[in-house]
Subunit: 191 residues, 2 copies
Amino acid sequence: MKTDLEPFILSINNLDETILQDVTPAFRHYEYPKGYFLLKAGKVCDQLWFMTKGCVRYFYTDENGKEANTWFSLDEQIVTDTISFVTRKPAQESIQVVEDASFYAIDCEAIQRLLKKHHAFALWYIKLVEKHYIEQVEDRIADLQFLDAKQRYEKLTTLYPSITNRISLGHIASYLNITQETLSRIRSGKL
Amino acid sequence: MKTDLEPFILSINNLDETILQDVTPAFRHYEYPKGYFLLKAGKVCDQLWFMTKGCVRYFYTDENGKEANTWFSLDEQIVTDTISFVTRKPAQESIQVVEDASFYAIDCEAIQRLLKKHHAFALWYIKLVEKHYIEQVEDRIADLQFLDAKQRYEKLTTLYPSITNRISLGHIASYLNITQETLSRIRSGKL
DNA sequence: TCTAGAATTTGATCTACATCAAAATGCTTT
DNA sequence: AAAGCATTTTGATGTAGATCAAATTCTAGA
């Protein structure tokens, strides 16, 4: 039942059939419902997930227990807390499924083993890290610094037209770092 | 005169002497004065620099020609526009020396060649990308979302105590995305 | 040492978005 | 279909930091 795993792997970078045969068994398939935590802040992120469908949010919890979303990943994306995964230190953020999702997961140890074993896998992994960096970082820092709430909302809905159907106003407002009230006013054109 | 290059390379990850001998000639040494542009927005970033001392700023220029700093790197840091370097697309941002600086530079082509040639170099490069990701991203997105101007200023000066001596108030205000006036008031304790 | 331009500080007002409170709407479960 | 809860919308007021204008301090060259 791993029919969609290989295309996902090969979409990152090509890998010879022989190496692919050694790589695919390192992945396991999971289905998680809305509300499930892939990662809780304070734990080391030990997995890297390929999400094939669904939606997750990344969020911080402040000292008062208030949550603040920093990101959403929808459908076919790499999901992990890169900093924790790389440093082996406890994650600052949590990752939670917000729409039932399926994943292929590989753990850190398997990656380290494959990196040492196959030069070609190391080249593949470089592409993965680069791709993930771009997904997570591109424009985001500049947007946070230079766009106001309305512009960021418009950019988000342009980039992910389905997001407003799939994620609640509260979650989106939290991501935009504005209140629900303000987002509601933006949506209705009063701002 | 490449005495400090090898320690810098080895500080990323260990490399066997034989491979190191093949890697070091790919780097060239440069000294650039304040004001020099390592990268101008619109050009593809073709180089990766190891800065051994000095200071650079990363900034965007908006449609009105107004500049906004997104980052500073001081002294011993990796300097490059990762997105452009990886995607080979024109950079959105510019990188400029703000305090006379020395660098060891390697170009993209040399990296690609060495990646294919040496498995160990690929493992080294993974460490480099990870290190750079952490330098550039760690906490930064969360800080932008959750800290106010004063908190971000305090964090910046804690992280880089020398920054206020080395970088003008205008550049720092631009990075904090506040006006010079507001930063001046923060410094004097009026906010 | 003097001077001009640049950098920084100070003051007064304005605005985007927050906060608090309440009303309206939508979604489940029986 | 009604009840009950969660989500979204609306309204009134407060505040951090912007903007505009001017004064002050620093700094480099003559």
